[in-house]
Amino acid sequence: MTRANSAALAAAFEGGPAFVPYLAAGDPDYDSSLRYVEALDRGGADVIELGLPFSEPIAEGPTIQGAVTRALDAGMTPERFFEFVSDLDVSAPLVCMTYYNLIYQFGIDEGPEPFVERSAAVGIEGFVVPDLPAEEADPLREACDEHGLDLIFIVAPTTRGERLERIREQVSGYLYVQARLGVTGAKADVSDQTSESLDRVADWPVPKAVGFGISTGEQAAEIVAGGADGIIVGSALVDIVAEGDGEETVEERLEAKARELKRGTEKGFEQRTPRAERP
């Protein structure tokens, strides 16, 4: 039994390892972005992390910073984001990834509740808030519990001791295991820090999805074979959006990349579990 408020998020991890792609909503413009997110859904996304752009994305590397800037320049706002979610036609559950100031400022009343209420109304299932550590998260945690949404926390390679316990008490939905130190960005190899980080949270009652630096099906397979319940991929997909249409359209390439990554997770799962023991 895993701890989750959202039945959809819990279900996404029950059928085997999950592929969790990220795109910034509205990058490079509203209509294209809708098509791009839907392409990831067709390509096998189990959960989609949708970025609500904030002007100071301090946890992001250059790739996602670029996406955020393009989306903001094209007019993305929290209000437009909720419209965007309503306009999307996808089967995967949606998680909103954003920074705390946008959540905190929404609505007339101060505090996170109006944002959470509105998110629930349009069908968001949870939040990832990179600049909100467990110590500051009580108001958002309470609003999430009230509206049946999950608050997903990040565990970093540097997270140890009491901090792990604090996060363990708060997390629901799934745990975002940061594969390496630093900011987001595609990398060529799988960090040694990944398996150590996974070991530290192995007995937690939530699925563990690994993110930061994953860009290929092979990496996905390696990480799932190493015990992850899912992989999170952002920058490698945003790179495709940034390149724009070529011989193949962005949609076609995003769908193909999603299939590659999803297949990678399945391959990793087969490597991990001998066929005879599989349910």
Binding site: I58, A59, G61, Y100, Q105, L132
Partner: protein, 417 residues
């Protein structure tokens, strides 16, 4: 240096620790080091800091009675001369404290951000003095505006990394330094340049800067025989402000004025997300930026606005959480001075007192000029830094205006370019 004994992350509702999880262990490590070394003087940290401030920094610094200003305004105007600190600004108090602390913590590398370049220069000096490698992040626009300081950092052996994101100013440089820190926390200390950022930075930076008001309070009692009626300090992030105010906060009879950059206007352009000022205490609203809940310049959605000031050192969309709290509780009065009045004050002080102030500091003198009648009989102005670094900006900005008493500008245009 009388330091507080508590390490509370909040000032009322402000402050806190809003940073990526990867940084939290480093911040907890820093909190522990702050409590042990700074608050409890473990291993004689505070003694060594004071000794280095004296021998390397040149403290104590004078509280000078400004005779012509006093005569002009009909009251005693005293200048706390932080411009005489080694490096030419109050910034060294904090940079030296933090680099020394990094050394006590066993860190191997220093990073910092800088706007006007004074903090970068001070950090580069402190790092060279204490033999630690140092990298400074600086917005591309500020690199152009503050070329002499960039060269000074390089002379002291620091790398200067240009930041091109956004408008290329301090806000972007802070974000970029946080990104570096997130990748290097195990070996690196981030020397934040003001009383901003996640706890314990606002408290710790204030403690390092509090030497300003500690000295000024003793000096004014000695020279004038009583406490001042008012203390004026310019406020960007707020480090010289909190330094100049700290030891006067409990003196109820002393009015404390935080002089912000009114820029070209106090109104905001919501459509373009631009505030043509840097007055976050006067015009900002509560929000979360760069690790703390504080007053910030933001649009109604919570996106951070581009700020503006003729002074790069004040050009920032946030302010220290303790200052925001002191304003809310009525202890500190936030006021503004616009670009034109600051430039006029820059020329006036240079001519009448023989002190070329930083453009930041000129804002405080602009307020004195416009409001001296309300400031009481004894006024202290904190001269946060000297203006050598600003000369290129001043030539450019003065050439575009009619400023009483300014030198004939034609011969200077293009100088240094």
């Amino acid at each position: 240096m009388s330091y507080g004994t508590e390490s509370n992350p909040k000032f009322g509702e402000y402050g806190g620790q809003f940073v990526p999880e990867a940084l939290m262990p480093a911040i907890e490590e820093l909190e522990d080091a702050y409590e042990r070394y700074v608050l409890e003087n473990e291993d004689g940290f505070v003694d060594e800091f004071r000794e280095r401030l004296a021998d390397f920094g040149g403290r104590p610094l004078p509280l000078q009675r400004a005779d012509r200003l006093s005569e002009r305004y009909g009251r005693d105007v005293y200048l706390k001369r932080e411009d005489l600190l080694h490096g030419g600004a109050h910034k060294l108090n904090n940079a030296l404290g933090q680099v020394l602390l990094a050394k006590y913590m066993g860190k191997e590398r220093i990073i910092a951000e800088t706007g006007a370049g004074q903090h970068g220069t001070a950090t580069a000096m402190a790092a060279a003095h204490l033999d630690l490698p140092c990298e400074i992040y600086m917005g591309e626009r500020d690199i152009v505006r503050q070329r002499p300081n960039v060269f000074r950092m390089r002379l002291n052996g620091s790398e200067v990394n240009p930041v091109s994101a956004g408008r290329g100013t301090l806000k972007e440089a802070i974000s970029e330094t946080m990104r570096d820190w997130a990748a290097s926390v195990e070996t690196t200390h981030y020397v934040i340049g003001s009383v901003v950022g996640p706890h314990p930075f606002p408290r710790m930076v204030r403690d390092f800067q509090a030497v300003i008001s500690e000295e000024a309070r003793e000096q004014v009692l000695e020279k004038a025989g009583r406490l001042p009626d008012s203390v004026l300090a310019c406020a960007g992030g707020g480090s010289n402000t909190m330094g100049a105010f700290h030891h006067f906060v409990s003196d109820d009879g002393v009015e404390l004025y935080a002089v912000e950059a009114g820029g070209s206007s106090l109104s905001v352009d919501e459509e373009r997300g631009v505030a043509p000022n840097s007055a976050s205490l006067s015009t900002g609203t509560e929000g979360v930026l760069h690790g703390a809940r504080t007053r910030i310049l933001q649009d109604r959605d919570g996106q951070i606005m581009e700020s503006h000031s003729v002074s790069s050192g004040l050009d920032y969309a946030g302010v220290g959480p303790e200052l925001a709290h002191l304003v809310d509780t009525g202890r500190v009065t936030p006021v503004t001075v616009d670009d034109d009045a600051a430039l006029e004050a820059f020329h006036r002080l240079s001519q009448e007192e023989g002190i070329i102030p930083a453009l930041e500091t000129a804002h405080a003198f602009g307020y004195l000029h416009e409001n001296y009648g309300d400031l009481g009989e004894i006024v202290i102005v904190n001269v946060s830094g000297r203006g050598d670094k600003d000369l290129e900006s001043v030539i450019e900005e003065t050439s575009e205006r009619e400023i009483e008493g300014a030198p004939e500008m034609d011969v200077f245009q293009g100088v240094g370019r």
